[in-house]
Amino acid sequence: MTTPNDSVIHDIGFRHYDGPRLGRGWAFRSLLLETLRGAFGLGRPAKVKIMPWVLIGLFTVPAIVIVAVVILTGGQELPLTYTQYPIAMSLLVSLFLAGRAPYAVSRDLRDGIMPLYLSRPIKRQDYVYAKLFGLAIAVWIFIATPVTVLLIGALLAKFPVRDQLLGWVGGMLMAAVLALLITSIALTLASFTKRRGLGVAAVLATLVLLSGFVSVLISVVTMQRSGATGTYFAVLDPYLLVDGLSAAWLGVDPQNDFAQPDGALGTLVFTAALVVIVAGMVAILLRRFRKVGGV
């Protein structure tokens, strides 16, 4: 930033640029970083910053409370583990994403900025991937903040360092999986409207209603039929799917017992569901942006 001073501006005419031109990779990185900054309102007016930072605060306060209680009462373990925390607080994650996904794509659609991006040295699909990964990283940072607060608390409470670090690494890994999964869904929904309000409503309704609906479905099926049939419906709710994957991949306790995949077949089905959903959403996004920009 420049600072005001008394110096005189001399008109030195138009200066040509003969430095390096860094090309497609750099342009992709720049768009990804811009998306990430935009998600937290950086470089934007104050009113854009309010929502993301309020949500980060609300999302982190419970972690601070948990840590304080554990340290003050001398507990032996965290009441919520590194992988359970974001699942238990899924509503706040959904709220953050519902605000940020439309901000990332609906705004570009409304402002008609695509022709400017397309006239830069990038290809059409670069835009989709830069937006997807930029926003997924933002969601990952959002989830990582309270999870890391839990780690700091656990270390302050003198829990075994090795166990806690491993748990935290697992938490970070599953946070990344969750971020990619829900971001791909939210971005796809948001990419179909120029109107941010509509995008926010669509993302929030889908993520929240899906959670409620799937929970009811699982309870009903579990009551009607014995065995593990009900757990397979967990793949329909992104949070339950990741909850189940944490249990399957890392062997940790899931937040919801009914999300525990049923043996090797369950693990396979859950993993396949993750891959299919993300790949499907990316395919829809690429298709959606194939025609945007008037070309």
Partner: protein
Amino acid sequence: MTTITTTALTRTFGPVTAVSNLTVELPSGVVGLVGANGAGKSTLIKMLLGLIPPTSGTATILGFDCLTDGLKIREVVGYMPESECLPLDVSATEFLVHMARMSGLPASAGRERAADTLRHVGLYEERYRPIGGYSTGMKQRVKLAQALVHDPKLVFLDEPTNGLDPAGRDDMLGLISKISSDFGISVVVTSHLLGELERIADHVVVIDGGVLQRSTSTADATQLSGSLLVEVTDEADVVMSRLRDLGASVAAGRAPGSFAVELTDETLPAAVVAIVAELGVGLVRLQRRRHHLSEIFETSGVTS
């Protein structure tokens, strides 16, 4: 020096032919691309940017092949679209730095050039405010600045004077001349107003329905497109026949006493005045007129 060469360039969208068998060479300097809405101007620009492949034919721009070198072309070419295309909640500075990086400039160079470019297009203190609060004229300047921020060799300006008031139009045309003469950047500027382009363009290309109508330097085009409207109080027939004797082509107008003279010779206005004075009739009107674009389309079957 030639910046753009197209050979039998054709692009169809289903049954619609947007650009048809276009063979043209554009020199450096300011080139005006004239055509009515839907004439194929935007399709041509998108093909030259390497964004849509031609159905057939080839085009090279600054020595790059449009079919295969799209990324290379877009590194050294700027594009100002006709449509609204600015984000409203970031400042012009923030936006320009981002667009500079999107063009491949390193972060520090991007910041420096963003400030420079905004100054050159005439945006000063307001550049720190969000773009949403700008006037139409200021937004057009930002759109122009984003096309120049990476110091391209050539810029495409699509209808840059659209929506501007007369003063803003003059400012924009002045800026476009400056881009070519002071900055040394070649300009291809589209408009459906021929008169506007004649003021600044060194070369004018007219297309209609995707077909090349005319490609000439502006001096030729002005000469060809001139005509003289004359209205006299009496004896219009005599004046017309005297002018025909001088070899001028004269067409009678609808109103009695008025006619038009094809301006093939710069001495014709003086000749009209001399004849009228000799006959002692009143001269009501002697007006030099440029052809409207539609008339150019009608008269120019031949390309030069």
